[in-house]
Symmetry: C2
DNA sequence: GGCATTTGGGTAGTATGCTAACGATCAGCA
DNA sequence: TGCTGATCGTTAGCATACTACCCAAATGCC
């Protein structure tokens, strides 16, 4: 066993790899072509219609460039509408399309169900313990991230 | 607070974001241009000199394409030597250069020290609990990943 | 009003991290 | 020996995920 295999950084990368793979596999089985980042963006837009890309980036902890590409692809799939804000012509107002809202309602229970598969081998109590620790440390380390979480209000 | 912010998948992505950022920041402060993936590859090669790229990929849980690019960059930095295996002309034998071995010895204590910063806000006992849970679930979910860990022996 | 600063979005560039497909090569087997 | 299948590395393509930089537009301050 290598020394790297016990390092938190390595374990976290593996967790992320497994998480993304579980998500993608489920989407494929549903016949959908959607990533977990795109899902998070749809949820954020559903909860905050009319926000611009920079705000969206802060709500799901991404940089603006990445969000620009994600929104491009969501617009191309007709899940999100993007238009210039007349009050601030720099900004793009974002909102779910009808088709995006419909898809999201179908997706939410699926995505909630697959969270269980991500942490395979753990009991319900252990999953809860993991989530508690993860929430505390991501909050403590928020500003260490290059794209911190910036919740509204 | 959005419903996604409590999902394990989202928390894991945040953890990975913070982890990569902490690593990059430390490397920058050391005046080095090295990613965590490149570090993991150097460690694996130090522990297993002479392996080929596919074996290296399995040891640090990456697909062969990604490892090809990582090795390209390590060779360009003169940290790794790559040559065709005369016994199997498909394969590339990899080994650290002297400069790679020297750098790695300097890096290992630094990287071990920064692991602590990744899980900010947790006590030593909580870090240990996190690592235990993470190890168990990544082992259980190994084959769910697209690029599973394939240890030798 | 005029001007410096800030902000939103974009381009260019780099590195992961994956799929699908391909050529070269090797291993097993009739 | 010749064929079949597996394996190693690579290319092409896509989607994150960032930095650095730029332009346009809004904001704050005098």
């Amino acid at each position: 066993m290598s020394i790297v295999h016990a390092m938190p950084g390595f374990l976290i990368r593996r967790l992320n790899q497994i998480s993304m793979s579980v998500f993608q596999e489920r989407m494929q089985r549903l016949g959908l072509d959607l990533t977990s980042v795109q899902f998070a963006a749809l949820v954020a837009l559903s909860e905050n219609p009319g926000i611009d890309q920079a705000t969206l980036a802060g709500l799901i902890a991404h940089d603006r460039v990445t969000i620009g590409g994600v929104v491009d692809r969501l617009v191309a799939k007709d899940l999100v509408a993007r238009r210039i804000n007349p009050q601030d012509r720099r900004a793009r107002q974002l909102a779910l399309t009808d088709s995006g809202a419909t898809l999201l309602q179908r997706l939410i229970p699926e995505v909630q169900a697959l969270q269980h598969d991500i942490l395979a081998g753990l009991s319900a109590a252990e999953v809860a313990a993991f989530v508690t620790l993860a929430r505390r440390t991501t909050e403590a380390g928020n500003d260490r991230s290059r794209a911190p979480l910036r919740p509204r209000d």
